[in-house]
């Protein structure tokens, strides 16, 4: 169960943002935007394993934890969870990202989707909402 799921393009522009609580969205967006810094830092220092797309915890505050994941094409996924939610282990987060990545890949395979457009796919939204609510 996550608070927010976001897809950020290669150019760091948001392509999809879904939050559990709309009132948190602005604050979370600030946090995700700042987290891009950490993604870039991690990408710059170079990963040891190119197959490892999961970047782990990028940023945390008293309330939120931002986790990152970056595809080989440098599309970034972010999942924000509640800091107090310690039930979510690393593995669960990885699983969320894997699902998100699969949905994103499906989206890219759709010939009617133009890469770079804001994501409005219902399927993708369904998957993202599933991650937010925790019933997927």
């Amino acid at each position: 169960m996550a608070l927010c799921v976001a897809v950020v393009s290669k150019e760091n522009a948001p392509k999809y943002v879904a939050s559990l609580n709309p009132e948190d969205e602005l604050q979370i967006q600030y946090e995700i935007h700042s987290s891009i810094d950490f993604v870039e830092e991690k990408l710059k220092t170079g990963k040891k394993d190119m197959r490892e797309l999961y970047l782990g915890l990028l940023y945390s505050t008293e309330n939120h934890k931002v986790y990152g994941y970056v595809t080989n094409t440098k599309v970034k996924f972010f999942v924000v969870i509640d800091s107090s939610n310690l039930l979510l282990r690393d593995n669960e987060i990885r699983f969320m990202f894997r699902k998100l990545h699969t949905a994103y890949t499906d989206l890219m395979c759709n010939p009617f989707y133009i890469p770079g457009d804001y994501i409005t796919s219902e399927n993708f939204d369904k998957v993202a909402r599933g991650i937010l609510t925790g019933n997927s």
Partner: protein, 1148 residues
């Protein structure tokens, strides 16, 4: 370094502790060996292979030897401490004498072993030190030694626990002997195995205790102290990471307990942590362990925060000992968040601000720790983790400031003053340690007054922002810290600084295109710009807000209205990129078919403005192709279009692709993307380009529309091209689009490259209007209409027109009758809608001399248009006149008689009327006699009509005085004739013109007569036969001119035959000479007809021949005769040739 350190007896210094080893037996001997032994043990690390496949560790043993004390041992064995407990017991002896052993030593060892067995100690070693007397060395070895005896008596089953060694100090040569090395190795191994056994046993105890955690009397604190012992012991062995693992396990366990507390029953021990928070001082790093604190843990006197601090301080000190200081910083943030979260989970009642104070102290201390790091690489690593800590403390500081009324805009109330006091006292109380006071002092100072608070806040912010920047985390620096600072400056009223931070953050958001954040920042910025009176930026930001879909409509309208009123109040001119305000959708250049320049440019765009706007002007600037070429190197006309759909880019141009086999059968089909390369190019790689600034000066040649209402959403607007008159002709590209929203607010954008139109600049032209295939004829009056088409650059008002022409062409206006070569036509002119003037005009071109048989006559007419402004424009019209008829003349000869023939051929498409012709002949000097001519024409009608292509011929005989050769000389050799007639168009007989045609005949007199014929040669018959040789004879007769008779004259002849008819067998050409007084000559040449039938006889070409004369040095030459000088009497005669005689015929 100002870390808190317990002092005196309170301090538990693990580093002071070493694994303890007791010694018994020959103490004097051991005292001597002790130093060497302990040095040897710690000389090199040893592998510690642990059970349960735990990772192997290298351990360097540094040990401490204490004399065996049976009371102390009993106490230590029973205690739970791992540190300060002897790990091994040794017994030393150097007795070599069996007797002594039996009498004394055995008892001693037995007593010692009794103690061992009593406490169940198995980690013991008996060492027999053999000191050899070198002098006695050659003495025979005893059968059994004391060592063997001890072995058999005490260590029957544990042979490795009985060791023998040669005393090294006494035999220094053998110091490094194998026996000594074996001893050391053995002792090391035994120590480690002792530890291993101890740890396993201890771990078992811990596990057992942990299993009882559901027991109500169970306490985590107790458990904590248990496991901590293990950590101590590991630390004592120098295994910092292993020790850290113990603490991490404890940490995780504690956290888990707290997490479980809301769902299950809260264990009793945990409730003790739930008391009201009374102290919030923080000590995060201690080199030594405070016994008091451990005691407090034991007695459950520590608060949650204190306990957490203790735990963290232990972790920190282990990390520092392992020289991983950055991990301290890294863990600190997690630790702080966890602690704060724990407080919430356990619902611990904390005084307001206390947690913030605690966090601030913690952060400050971590920073202090990081500052002490020496290695630059470590320092760099630390800075990555200190920045978030700084940001965290900044937020907490703000929280405190708000609580205590210390923020710049507020005044402290008494209540808030009291809060400050409470908070300060909470930081002081608690520990009796000389606490790390620097952080507390700083915080207290910060809380003391509004000014100091501001200073401290800004210091922290500055440090945070610069640390983030140092780590190149710009988003964090400007968006996180920057916005916090902007918030702070809002309160302090420093709008300039606030704006600066907001603008920096905005730039980042714009660069990454985070719309929601842009809007949010803009909403703040608008207030700033209004405050500092930056109209330009205010208007720009308002515009952005008004057109951003992320805002609700009220906010957008509100800002739009604010913007409009601001523009009206101020007099600043504003230019902005169109970007998100107006989004271009489609541009169509609709070009007029005739003129090729666009009458209309249709513009489709989406307005994101919240209200209707009446724009004073919408315009597009254009750039001529040549200028564009300079501007852009890539100039691809193929790409240029007349229409551009901005969205169309996404639609691929597809085409069917059918494949056929070689035999023409259909093989496969598919679809193909044309021009796929340009579409397969990655487009998302290009970053969004920031809009460039434009100058208003660019707008020279414009396509525009005035007073246009733009409604929110899609608009379609037609623009028209203005003043194309003043533009050069060429290809124009649409360049920039400007939308004037208000009189002083202009939006600009670039039109996508490649949109163009051609502007053909039409020059003024003039022409004569002629109906289809009509041509003008010279020599007659012609009616036409002079059409003047004024060009795109001409003035529309013309005062007068001057016409003038080349010589030979005269003209007049329709109503006039007088033809002249220059006239003025005065205004007014009836100028038609397409700028043209028609002038009916009459033209007359003189007939040119007809001798050269000209086909046409060229004339030019200049039209000069004059305006009142001394401006004139000259247009030239070329006019071609055809001739209405052609005249031909000819001299005819018959023997000596001469005839003059004149033919007139009509070329007009109307009938030509000719009057009776006259001819006058004059013999040229020296005689100048009128030649008498006899008309051979039938009687003339008064008018002869000729249609197009018809010819009329006239014939006169020259009346030579006589045919007598003597009189031939009367008339001169040159005769001049003048043929005169009168012609007119059949339609306008009254308007007739004279035709005078002069011509001359030279050397017309007949000089020679020729008669020729073909005869049968031999006796083959009367008729010529095919393929039979015949004789061609020609007789030449000179005119019997008395003068010429006296001369010898030569001629050259050539026989001309059709080679399909005749074959010339003899000489085809020759020179004949008329000797003096000889009149006739003849030749005969053999010829053979090649076909049968009536064949024209061969003809002759005659030339006058002048033979070469060596005296006069002239070469021979041939000169042709003039017309009429040679008369061929047999011209056109045919001869009958019979077919060949067949053999059959001859047979008959």
């Amino acid at each position: 370094m100002t870390t808190a350190n317990p002092i005196g007896g309170d301090a538990l210094r693990i580093s002071d502790h070493k694994p303890l080893i007791t010694y018994a037996g020959d103490k004097e001997l051991f005292e001597n060996l002790k130093l060497v032994l302990s040095q040897s043990l710690s000389q090199e690390p040893i592998e510690w292979r642990r059970q349960y496949a735990r990772p192997m560790k290298m351990v360097t043993l540094s040990t401490e030897f204490v004399p065996f004390n049976k009371d102390a041992v009993a106490e230590q064995i029973n205690s739970r401490n791992l540190v300060g407990r002897p790990i091994m017991h040794t017994f030393w002896t150097q007795c070599l004498d069996m007797e002594v052993y039996k009498s004394l030593l055995r008892d001693e060892i037995e007593k010692w072993m009794f103690e061992m067995n009593k406490h169940n100690i198995i980690d013991w070693v008996i060492v027999v030190v053999e000191t050899y007397d070198l002098r006695k060395h050659n003495k025979l070895l005893p059968r059994t030694t004391v060592f063997d005896k001890i072995k058999s008596d005490f260590a029957e089953k544990k042979a490795d626990r009985c060791l023998s060694v040669i005393n090294p100090p006494k035999s220094e040569v053998r110091c490094g002997s194998s026996a000594w090395r074996a001893l050391i190795a053995n002792v090391r191994l035994l120590i480690l195995s002792a530890f291993d056994r101890l740890f396993l046993k201890y771990e078992d105890n811990i596990r057992n205790y942990r299993e009882q955690r559901n027991d109500p009397s169970w306490s985590f604190c107790k458990y904590f102290l248990y496991q901590e012992e293990l950590a101590f012991a590991l630390q004592m062995l120098g295994l910092h990471d292993e020790a850290l693992v113990q603490y991490d396990e404890l940490d995780a366990m504690f956290t888990q307990f707290i997490l479980n507390s809301p769902v299950g029953n809260v264990p009793h021990w945990l409730t003790e942590f739930q008391g009201v928070l009374e102290r919030w001082s923080a000590v995060l790093y201690m080199e030594n362990i405070s016994r008091t604190q451990r005691e407090a843990i034991k007695n459950r006197k520590l608060s949650l925060l204190e306990f957490r601090c203790y735990l963290f301080s232990r972790q920190a000190s282990l990390l520092m000992a392992a020289s991983k200081p950055w991990q301290v910083a890294e863990r600190a943030l997690i630790f702080l968040h966890q602690a704060v979260s724990d407080l919430k989970t356990l619902e611990i009642d904390c005084p307001k601000g206390s947690v913030a104070c605690w966090v601030l102290q913690c952060c400050a201390q971590i920073l202090i720790i990081c500052q002490t790091v020496k290695k630059s690489a470590h320092l760099e690593e630390c800075s990555h983790h200190t920045a978030p800590l700084l940001y965290y403390s900044l937020k907490k500081l703000y929280e405190l400031g708000e609580l205590c009324g210390l923020l710049p805009d507020s005044v402290q109330t008494t209540e808030q003053l009291h809060t400050v006091q409470v908070l300060c006292s909470g930081m002081q109380s608690g520990h009796d340690l000389t606490a790390a006071t620097e952080s507390v002092a700083t915080l207290k100072t910060a809380l003391s007054s509004s000014e100091t608070f501001s200073k401290h806040y800004l210091d922290v912010a500055e440090l945070a922002i610069s640390t983030y920047k140092h780590n190149k985390l710009m988003r964090c620096a400007h968006s996180l810290v920057g916005l916090e600072l902007a918030k702070f400056y809002t309160l302090s009223g420093d709008t300039t600084k606030r704006t600066a931070f907001l603008v920096k953050a905005l730039k980042l958001f714009e660069q990454d295109n985070w719309k929601l954040l842009i809007v949010q920042t803009n909403l703040e910025l608008v207030k700033c710009f209004k405050k500092i009176g930056n109209v330009d930026q205010f208007v720009k930001t308002c515009l952005q807000l008004a057109s951003s879909s992320e805002c609700n409509i009220q906010v957008r309208q509100n800002h739009f209205d604010q913007m409009l009123s601001m523009i009206q109040e101020s007099n600043v001119e504003c230019f902005y990129p169109m970007d998100g305000v107006i989004v271009l959708d489609q541009i169509d250049v609709k070009s007029n078919d005739e003129d090729n320049y666009p009458s209309i440019v249709s513009l489709k765009f989406k307005s994101n403005l919240p209200r209707n706007v009446v724009c004073p002007k919408i315009s597009i600037s254009v750039v001529i192709g040549s200028a564009m070429k300079k501007m852009k190197n890539k100039f691809n006309l193929a790409k240029s279009t007349y229409s551009y759909d901005i969205k169309k880019d996404n639609v691929l141009p597809m085409a069917y692709n059918h494949n056929y086999q070689q035999d023409g059968h259909f093989a496969s089909t598919g679809i193909l993307c044309l021009n796929q390369k340009s579409y397969l190019k990655r487009q998302d790689s290009q970053r969004r380009k920031p809009s460039t600034n434009f100058n208003k000066n660019d707008f020279h040649d414009i396509i525009s529309a005035n007073s246009v209402t733009i409604t929110p959403g899609i608009n379609v607007i037609d623009l028209t091209l203005n003043n194309s008159k003043n533009m050069e002709s060429g290809i124009y590209f649409l360049d920039k689009l400007s939308i004037l929203l208000e009189s002083r607010l202009e939006l600009l954008t670039s039109v996508p490259f490649g949109l163009m139109f051609a502007l053909k600049n039409v020059n003024s032209t003039a022409r004569l209007d002629l109906s289809d295939n009509q041509c003008l004829f010279a020599g007659v009056e012609e009616m036409s209409i002079l059409s003047l088409q004024f060009g795109t650059k001409s003035k529309k008002i013309i005062d007068k027109i001057q016409l003038h022409s080349t010589p030979g062409l005269t003209f007049c206006m329709k109503d006039d009758t007088e033809f002249c070569s220059e006239i003025y036509v005065k205004s007014p002119f009836s100028m038609s809608s397409n700028n043209s003037v028609s002038l009916p005009i009459k033209l007359f071109a003189q007939l040119p001399p007809l001798k050269d048989n000209p086909k046409t006559v060229h004339h030019k007419l200049w039209v000069k248009c004059e305006t009142s402004l001394d401006d004139e424009e000259v247009i030239c019209v070329s006019i071609d006149f055809s001739l209405p008829f052609t005249v031909a003349y000819r001299l005819h000869t018959c023997h000596y008689r001469k005839f003059v023939g004149v033919n007139i051929t009509c070329h007009t498409d109307w009938s030509l009327a000719l009057r009776e012709p006259k001819i006058i002949g004059i013999s040229q000097p020296p005689t100048n006699v009128m030649v008498k001519l006899t008309s051979l024409n039938s009687t003339f009608k008064p008018l002869t009509y000729l249609e197009n292509g018809e010819t009329i011929g006239y014939l006169w005989e020259i009346d030579l005085p006589s045919t007598d050769i003597n009189t031939l000389g009367i008339l001169a050799d040159s005769l001049k004739f003048n043929f005169q007639t009168n012609y007119s168009s059949a339609r306008k007989l009254d308007c007739s013109h004279d035709l005078n045609f002069e011509f001359t005949f030279n050397n017309y007199k007949t000089l020679m007569l020729i008669e020729s014929g073909v005869e049968v040669a031999g006796k083959s018959g009367e008729f010529c036969r095919m393929n039979t040789v015949c004789t061609y004879t020609a007789n030449f007769k000179r005119t019997e001119h008395p003068k010429s008779l006296q001369n010898e004259i030569s001629f050259k002849y050539e026989i001309v035959v059709d080679k399909t008819m005749w074959a010339v067998c003899g000489r085809g050409s020759d020179v004949i000479t008329f000797p003096a007084n000889s009149i006739t000559q003849s030749i005969s040449v053999e010829v053979m007809p090649l076909m049968s039938g009536f064949l024209p006889i061969p003809t002759l070409n005659i030339f006058r021949y002048y033979p070469s004369n060596s005296r006069q040095n002239t070469e021979s030459k041939m000169v042709p005769f003039s017309t009429g000088q040679v008369y061929n009497a047999t011209k056109g005669v045919q001869t009958h040739v019979l077919p060949r005689v067949t053999t059959d015929a001859s047979f008959i």
